[in-house]
């Protein structure tokens, strides 16, 4: 199966007047296969969204990016090449559909702008939009197209956003917390829709969320991110059922449920680190119960079952 996206040692620094003030991405390595979904899971500030922003080439000017981004059969691509395929071969849906649509244009006008950009013949645009909206389950396409964003519910807007992302039949769809701003039941419908569409259209998906169960629903593989680096990755079932990295174990143990006795959730001590401080060695070490002296050095990537785990202590 062919690879759609491959990141090698992707790093991002933020600089003010030439001095690095923040290094939120510290070497991301990941690969997405055609037609498959990779889920990225992590807590606030771990660099999930920044990874998406970097792939799309939309980092602010104060950011410095290093490492390789390879896309489909194009090989390594520069930010200039990315500007060409952005919005056509790679599209993105965003966390908050209510703010992702421009309040003063109708949904139809905004979808049309994107379609026009894709050089679709003028007389075919209407039909295309109707079809796209129908495929995301919005049957009253005329009403939807003529609506302003504030007239539609969050769930409907997110469907419109997905329709927008599929106008150009992309190879890769990046979904950045697509269900976070929605009610759980609506979010679940959106997840189902995305899986169905993926089956039909065959795009690969990078699914970013802090919600482990949402990611587990749609992803074929999961990458757990902590402080700007992947600490564990592998097939969804494996990672969910046999987590290896202490952080992954902690994270899964922290999910509350009726089955777990009250007061017994795994509570990783401390807080998610702020990235203002530079990290030496394993970033998780200070919250880790397995911590040893070695942890002050960069942990190696070890293979356990079918997972890759960045830790000194597991698999010994």
């Amino acid at each position: 199966m062919s690879t759609v996206l491959k990141l090698t040692d992707l790093e991002v620094d933020f600089q003010i007047n030439g001095t690095v003030v923040n290094s939120p991405l510290r070497g991301m390595n990941l690969e997405i296969k055609a037609g498959k979904t990779l889920g990225i899971v992590g807590e606030t500030g771990c660099g999930k969204t920044l990874t998406a922003t970097a792939i799309m080439g939309l980092l602010p000017s104060s950011a410095v990016q290093r490492g390789r981004i390879e896309f489909a059969d194009r090989g390594e691509i520069t930010s200039k090449e990315m500007a060409e395929i952005r919005g056509s071969q790679i599209t993105m849906i965003f966390q908050n559909p209510a703010s992702a649509f421009n309040p003063i244009f109708t949904v139809g006008e905004q979808l049309k702008m994107v379609a026009q950009r894709r050089n679709i013949a003028r007389n075919q645009i209407d039909a295309l939009l109707v079809s796209r909206l129908a495929s995301v389950g919005l049957k009253e396409s005329k009403r939807v197209l003529d609506s302003y964003p504030h007239q539609l519910s969050g769930g409907m807007l997110q469907r419109c956003m997905i329709a927008m992302a599929l106008i150009s039949t992309p190879k890769l769809l990046i979904a950045d917390e697509p269900t976070t701003a929605l009610d759980a039941t609506i979010g679940d419908q959106v997840l189902t829709l995305m899986s169905t569409l993926q089956k039909r259209e065959g795009f690969a998906m990078l699914f970013i969320s802090h919600d482990v169960s949402a990611v587990a629903k749609v992803a074929d593989a999961i990458a757990v991110v902590y402080a700007g680096r992947i600490v564990e990755s592998g097939p969804t079932d494996q990672v969910m059922n046999w987590p290896q990295h202490p952080y992954t174990r902690g994270l899964l143990g922290a999910i509350p449920s009726a089955d777990k006795a009250r007061g017994t959730l795994v509570a990783i001590p401390g807080n998610v680190p702020s990235l203002l401080t530079s990290v030496v060695g394993c970033a998780f070490a200070e919250r880790c119960s397995l911590r040893s002296d070695k942890c002050s050095q960069e942990p190696p990537i070890v293979q356990i079952n079918s997972q890759s785990v960045a830790c000194w202590e597991v698999g010994k």
Partner: protein, 651 residues
């Protein structure tokens, strides 16, 4: 715990509480909480779970005296808060604690941690020494270091702010604590810390929690009892494990499904549904009736003045005995054997037989498959008659995009008659056949090949295999080309054309639909779904030489040509001759060339419109056969139809 039964002491009684907010839209206002009653029992955790706008926060605010309810009463520890001044209820209020969602907003940004925690103690009139002692104790209990006493909220993390909020809530030793989304803005790992802390404090101080959250996981983890709230009412209340394991209300089930880690289909799609399998049995029983649940469709609109065919059921039809494939069946047996979803028989303009199966109802739409082609044929007759197109012109004349493809030199007429010579294998089961590629391009199958994105791009790739017009070769792609062509020439979508030219003039009773590909092009070869009645009505239109509602809709000439069949010069196909000796394919219709001169449209998995001019009968039949094409099924259908029409003759 609740097990105590008669020992349980009610600490808060909420009876018939409603809260109505004034509303711009509605004069009577918006009812956020609608007459809710529930008791809070000492030592329990009552969890209220609901989505945004369910009214759960409003309920909590009413219960804890933050806002006054519009009606109903709240009794806390035997006392009523309503109508009393803040001062006189201060003592009672010291039994209440509050923890809100927004950790930073819970603490006055100008106050340090010490003063924030001390506020309720100050109110209770304690001395500075007492306060400092108490604050130190609380800080320790919620896991904050004394070094943080002088910090302000912006110097604390979200989790720490929430710990301060909890410490303040516990300052006056309250009995009941309101937890309104206490962990919703925290990260998962911090949420776990706070949830553990809350449980620990509850045990140590014998607290009663009133927990509000949108997060079912949090509520089900922490609560003894759970109430599921929606639109201002509790739709389900009960012991947590019971509600979670055996939910009664559909919304509870939906909520639980949304929170379960395993991905289950969302109720619209049946279990085991996969885009690559939906056409085969048994999935097609559901799929053919529910195309719009998984494929994009556009509407073909019903007539404003629909024709309602008179009904006079002929009981004789059900008593027919039919010989087919070496067996003798009664008609109901054969109908059942052929996996029928619907069958409608119209004799001389009167409905004489009408049956629906597989949960179909008269209003249900069903996929026509290739019967759709016959409808396209009729549309082309109308457009040609009106001079919009010339069917003897080359297709590439109208669609220059197809220059270089198989359709460079083929005429519209040749495509209508299926005599285009094209490299196209109509093998429904071969994953690499052109037919399968066509399905992928139309979005009918999953497509991860990166090719054939949309019908247009697929159709351009078809190549010619010889001279056109010489031999009959059934090729579904021809019809898709024609649907593309007609909407390009007229500048109207295919569905709008059908609505305007055919569906409304013929008096269709229901909206029909047509499947769209990813680019919005209608799938002409088999994408229409309609009701059985409307399909019969269409057959009736053909039978009536194109007239309906007093208007000539389809030119007579064309209908006569169709009945006459294809020119004998065109080389036919063995399978066609085997089934219908002397039969042919003309204008997107099949011609039987039998004694009764029937013509028909047929779609895979058993879809038919059967027009018998001799007995003046039209039969519309929908089925969900397990396989696309099987000669045995075909013969059984012929036998069935002819038997039904035969009844007519015998009368």
């Amino acid at each position: 715990m609740l097990g105590g039964g008669q020992m349980s002491e009610v600490v808060m009684q909420i009876s018939n509480v409603s809260k109505v907010f004034p509303s711009r839209e509605k004069k009577e206002g918006f009812t956020a909480v609608n007459s809710i009653s529930i008791d809070l029992i000492k030592g329990e955790v009552l969890g209220v779970v609901g989505e945004s706008g369910s009214g759960k926060s409003t309920l909590a605010r009413c219960a804890f005296g933050i806002t006054a309810p519009t009606s109903g009463s709240i009794t806390i520890l035997g006392q009523d808060l309503a109508g009393k001044s803040r001062r006189s209820t201060r003592e009672l209020r010291s039994n209440l604690g509050f923890v809100f969602q927004d950790p930073a907003g819970s603490i006055n940004p100008r106050m340090n941690v010490r003063n924030a925690i001390a506020e309720p103690l100050l109110l209770a009139g304690q001395s500075v020494q007492e306060i400092d002692k108490r604050v130190a104790f609380l800080m320790d209990r919620v896991g904050l270091a004394t070094s943080q006493l002088n910090r302000k909220s912006h110097e604390l993390s979200g989790g720490q702010c929430q710990r301060v909020a909890i410490a303040r809530a516990l300052a006056t030793n309250p009995q009941i604590v309101l937890l309104d989304e206490p962990t919703s803005s925290l990260d998962l790992s911090v949420q776990a810390q706070i949830l553990n802390l809350l449980e620990e404090l509850r045990r140590d101080f014998n607290l009663t929690y009133f927990l509000i959250s949108h997060n079912l996981d949090v509520v089900s983890h922490l609560s003894d009892r759970v109430a599921v709230m929606r639109d201002g009412v509790f739709v389900e209340t009960g012991i947590t494990t019971k509600v979670i394991n055996d939910p009664q209300h559909p919304f509870t089930r939906e909520l639980i499904r949304a929170y379960s880690g395993v991905h289950k289909s969302d109720g619209v799609l049946p279990a085991g549904f996969h885009l690559d399998d939906w056409q085969d049995g048994p999935l097609n029983r559901w799929a053919f009736q529910n195309i719009d649940s998984f494929l994009p469709v556009a509407r073909i609109e019903a007539s404003q003045s629909p024709i309602d065919l008179p009904v006079s059921i002929d009981p004789a039809i059900d008593t027919l005995e039919i010989e087919a494939s070496g067996n003798t069946y009664t008609l109901p047996e054969l109908v059942n054997d052929l996996d029928t979803d619907a069958i409608v028989v119209v004799r001389k303009g009167v409905v004489v037989y009408e049956k629906y199966f597989n949960s179909m109802v008269p209003e249900s739409l069903h996929l026509l498959q290739s019967v759709s082609k016959s409808i396209l044929g009729a549309l082309f007759a109308i457009m040609a008659d009106r001079g919009v197109i010339d069917i003897n012109k080359k297709i590439s004349h109208y669609l220059p995009e197809l220059l270089g493809s198989a359709y460079t030199d083929a005429t519209i007429a040749q495509a209508l008659d299926m005599s285009v010579a094209v490299n196209f294998s109509e093998d429904y089961l071969d994953p690499e056949s052109e037919m399968t590629r066509l399905d992928r391009a139309a979005g009918w199958r999953s497509n991860s090949t990166g090719r054939d994105l949309g019908l247009r791009s697929f159709l351009k790739t078809l190549t010619a295999s010889g001279e056109h017009g010489k031999a009959y070769q059934y090729c579904s792609a021809n019809t898709d080309v024609l649907a593309w062509l007609i909407s390009d020439v007229t500048g109207m979508s295919y569905q709008d054309l059908l609505t305007r030219e055919l569906w409304q003039p013929m008096g269709a009773g229901s909206d029909a639909s047509v499947i769209l590909d990813s680019q919005g092009l209608s799938v002409g070869n088999g994408g229409i779904s309609c009701t059985a009645r409307d399909l019969a009505l269409f057959g009736q239109l053909i039978l009536g030489e194109g007239r309906a509602q007093g208007r000539q809709i389809i030119p007579v000439q064309w209908i006569r040509e169709t009945f006459a069949g294809a020119s004998p010069d065109v080389i036919s196909a063995d399978y066609l001759q085997a089934l219908h000796p002397g039969g042919s394919y003309k204008n997107q219709w099949w011609i039987t060339a039998s004694q009764s001169q029937e013509i028909f449209g047929v779609g895979i998995y058993g879809q038919y419109v059967w027009v018998d001019p001799t007995s003046q009968t039209v039969i519309a039949k929908f089925s969900s056969l397990p396989v696309p094409v099987d000669p045995v099924h075909s013969r059984k259908h012929m036998a069935l139809f002819r038997a039904i029409c035969g009844v007519t003759i015998s009368k």
